[in-house]
């Protein structure tokens, strides 16, 4: 099997990583970079727990090869806060009580952040549509959507 040396930026830091061909971006982030905030829920692109930003766009990282990411800018949940200051969406989720077990939370935060970046004042239906690929089993989604609305207001 082939190995590839890739250069990429992760959460604002330049990295160089050697990855096997079959390593997904999700595994690279979790294993090679020890950024375990991104979660593995299904490895099939269905649950959204592995969502990260690639060049500003949310993607299911279990469905992307690390080798494809040479030159890319990646943001994971660990990259949302800066210098101890939480991102408004993170604060809003805590305040809204939208976190229960927390496993879907990183993916939800990334998808929400990306939504607010492209649509700073989304309607409820737009929020629902944007987060439809993030499965949550605990919260029933109501508070998650409330927190996106609250973060939009900040």
């Amino acid at each position: 099997m082939a190995f590839h040396k890739i250069y990429l930026t992760v959460n604002g830091k330049d990295e160089q990583v050697v990855v096997p061909s079959n390593m997904t971006l999700m595994c690279m982030v979790r294993e090679s970079l020890a950024l375990t905030g991104t979660k593995n829920g299904c490895s099939a692109g269905e649950c959204g727990a592995c969502t990260v930003l690639i060049n500003g766009e949310p993607v299911n990282s279990c469905m992307v090869l690390a080798a494809e990411c040479d030159g890319a800018e990646i943001v994971t949940v660990e990259g949302l806060a800066s210098d101890q200051q939480l991102d408004p969406i993170q604060e809003a989720m805590i305040e809204a009580g939208a976190v229960q077990c927390g496993f879907c939370t990183p993916g939800v935060l990334i998808s929400s952040r990306a939504l607010l970046d492209r649509n700073p004042n989304p309607s409820e239906d737009e929020i629902r549509e944007a987060l439809v690929g993030n499965l949550c089993r605990c919260t029933g989604y109501v508070r998650i959507m409330d927190s996106v609305k609250a973060a939009a207001r900040r």
Partner: protein
């Protein structure tokens, strides 16, 4: 979805050739162990299940032409194979000239998945449930393919041979989808029935497109393509002919929908039964055709 599905991805070699010739060449030389891929959302899943076992995955996303997305009023729309569905949805030109295609893309999975999913990939995967296949067919799409003997064009009309089977052969790389300019006054809609409100595969998908046509006895020409009711995207020829030849009323629309329901050939599977699918073809075709008719009348 096998009980012993691979935890992540099985071993293979990833490569990214610089030119189309290099890519086609490699694919031919290593057939059947080499496969091109775009977004990977279908390929990776099937590899985990052991249904595909390529030794080489060839990344064709950065090859020339793959990322083009442009419209010309005379020649129509070119969608490069690597253009993801979100880009298509966001394109002003698609929204203006091929809104039904954007509608179809929007119904696929989720926003993050659409950042990887491509229309050409959807076409080459050739699942009868593919949401963008109906619009691509209705808009008379033509695939631009680079193979071991250079570039060629293939109309989508006879492109799909069965579930997961197309006319592509070893060495072929689909480079772009070309949609000619739609006839003046075209109106269309895509209706999709899933189990959830959004984000499911289609149990039934209805693509309806029509335009005024003085050559047709009814004054209009309709296209009606159905997803998930046959081994390939199902063109409801009888319904289309009927609507070309019969004055368009709510009754004739219902009759056309019935024709489509009778003609299609769904199977019982874990998502739906034959009986339900045929009923839904009838109901959703009626609704889709009515919506298009309303748009046409305005």
């Amino acid at each position: 979805m096998a009980i012993n599905a691979h935890p992540t991805l099985p071993e293979f070699d990833y490569l990214r050739p610089e030119t189309l010739i290099e890519a086609s060449d490699f694919l031919v030389r290593h057939a059947p162990d080499a496969r091109p891929f775009l977004g990977g959302t279908d390929v990776f899943v099937r590899m985990r299940d052991g249904l595909l076992t390529p030794k080489f995955l060839v990344d064709v996303k950065r090859l020339p032409g793959m990322n083009d997305l442009h419209f010309d009023p005379l020649s129509g729309l070119i969608i490069g194979a690597a253009v993801n569905m979100n880009r298509v949805i966001a394109s002003q030109e698609v929204q203006e000239h091929y809104p039904m295609l954007a509608e179809a893309c929007r119904s696929v999975a989720s926003y993050p998945l659409r950042n990887r999913a491509t229309i050409v990939g959807n076409i080459c995967n050739a699942s009868p449930a593919g949401d963008t296949l109906g619009a691509s067919l209705a808009f008379e799409g033509v695939l631009h393919i680079h193979g071991s003997d250079g570039m060629r064009r293939e109309s989508l009309v006879n492109f799909f041979l069965g579930p997961g089977k197309t006319r592509l052969k070893a060495g072929d790389i689909a480079v772009a989808l070309h949609l000619p300019p739609p006839p003046a006054g075209s109106k269309g809609t895509y209706l999709k029935l899933g189990r959830n409100k959004l984000s499911d595969l289609s149990i039934v998908g209805v693509t309806a497109l029509a335009h005024p046509d003085s050559a047709a006895p009814s004054g209009y020409r309709f296209r009606l393509v159905l997803a998930s009711v046959a081994p390939v995207p199902f063109v409801a020829n009888e319904a289309e002919d009927y609507l070309a030849n019969t004055p368009i009323t709510s009754d004739s629309i219902r009759a056309a929908a019935r024709l489509a329901a009778e003609a299609c050939a769904p199977i019982d599977d874990v998502r739906g039964s034959v009986r339900y699918r045929k009923q839904m073809v009838k109901n959703l075709s009626t609704r889709a055709l009515s919506e298009v008719w309303e748009k046409l009348k305005k």
